[in-house]
């Protein structure tokens, strides 16, 4: 459930760029990535829903912050474009490993959802990795902005890797290799291990859930 909630909330954050991205191609790319993440959440919710007798909409729209299991890493505001790219790169770097692992899950349906999501995640990783290179090895300003963004998100990686500690080594190795390629420093800040929600989740839910909460009979 945590992985589904993470996908929904991060997808929502990235979708906030729709119509606001620095250029048209990037607007489309971010909207597509958000759609992938929300779609992945939907597949997982549908799967759990069958076990618990609930619909995917219940999980997305009828739960309060306390019932969500997402981690602060995905809840934090989208920030500027550098912040969005830094977080997406860190997320996708971990997610590719996480999903690869999940494709051998004993549950065929989970393994299937993971295999399909993995194809999408590889695109997210490649796209964000290219931007990390461009921004890191770009101008002085872009370099500073993307470095600050990595410094900002770094401590919250504690929550991300907590879902599968065995992938930690490879994840940090991959990330720091790419950061040095982009002339960036790998932050050394200590990781936060608490997964308590940040103060940013409730306002996000208020916006996302407004319509079905206000008009409970509304249908798609």
């Amino acid at each position: 459930m945590r992985t589904a909630d993470n996908r929904l909330i991060l997808g929502h954050r990235i979708s906030e760029w729709c119509g606001h991205a620095p250029m048209l191609e990037e607007d489309i790319a971010l909207a597509n990535i958000a759609l992938d993440l929300i779609g992945q959440a939907s597949s997982f919710y549908t799967y759990y829903g069958k076990l618990e007798g609930k619909t995917e909409d219940y999980y997305a729209y009828r739960r309060d912050a306390g019932e969500f299991q997402c981690i602060p890493f995905v809840e934090l505001p989208r920030g500027d474009f550098a912040q969005t790219i830094a977080r997406l790169f860190l997320w996708a770097s971990f997610d590719v490993l996480y999903l690869e692992n999940l494709t051998s899950d004993s549950d065929q349906e989970i393994a299937g959802i993971a295999a399909r999501s993995l194809k999408e995640s590889k695109y997210h990783l490649r796209h964000s990795a290219e931007w990390v290179l461009r921004l890191g090895d770009g101008t002085k300003e872009s370099h500073e902005k993307i470095q600050n963004s990595f410094n900002y998100y770094w401590p919250y990686l504690g929550g991300l890797i907590s879902s599968n500690q065995s992938l930690k080594g490879l994840f940090f190795e991959n990330v720091s290799k790419h950061l040095s390629k982009a002339t960036l420093k790998t932050p050394t800040a200590e990781l936060i291990t608490s997964n308590n929600h940040s103060e940013f989740l409730e306002p996000l839910l208020a916006e996302m859930q407004f319509l079905p909460r206000k008009y409970p009979d509304a249908v798609w």
Binding site: A29, E109, I113, R116, H127
Partner: protein, 154 residues
Amino acid sequence: MVEERIREILREVKDPEIPVIDCVELGVIREIRVSGNKVSVDITPTYSGCPAMKAIEDDIRETLERHGYKDAEVNLVFSPPWTTDWISESGRQKLKEYGIAPPDELVQFPRKKISCPFCDSQDTVLKSEFSGTACKAMHYCKSCLQVFERFKSI
């Protein structure tokens, strides 16, 4: 065989985003089961967030109902995941005629030269890995100066 007949009926269900190809050519139909007048169809979704999938699902039910198969069941099957390798030869041809470069055989990171669907030139560049829908990337042809979309190979 009645399954074959159902398959023919399903050819009426087009991809709402790319209306020249049908759901059989798209390769999403996994299995068709018939018992009496009750039809059940297994489909494999393409992309997680593809809104066309829901439309295709509903359209399958409506089309079967129109042909007298009431209350058809449509099940989503996730494993194995859909791949562009399942798009049929006729589907690929229709994509090209529609102005979308068809996917090539599966490679993890497609980096080879893509032919322009309009003038067949290979002098093209990738503009963005993402385009108007999740399944396509944006390319530019330096010969005919035309932006075109390509079905990503996944």
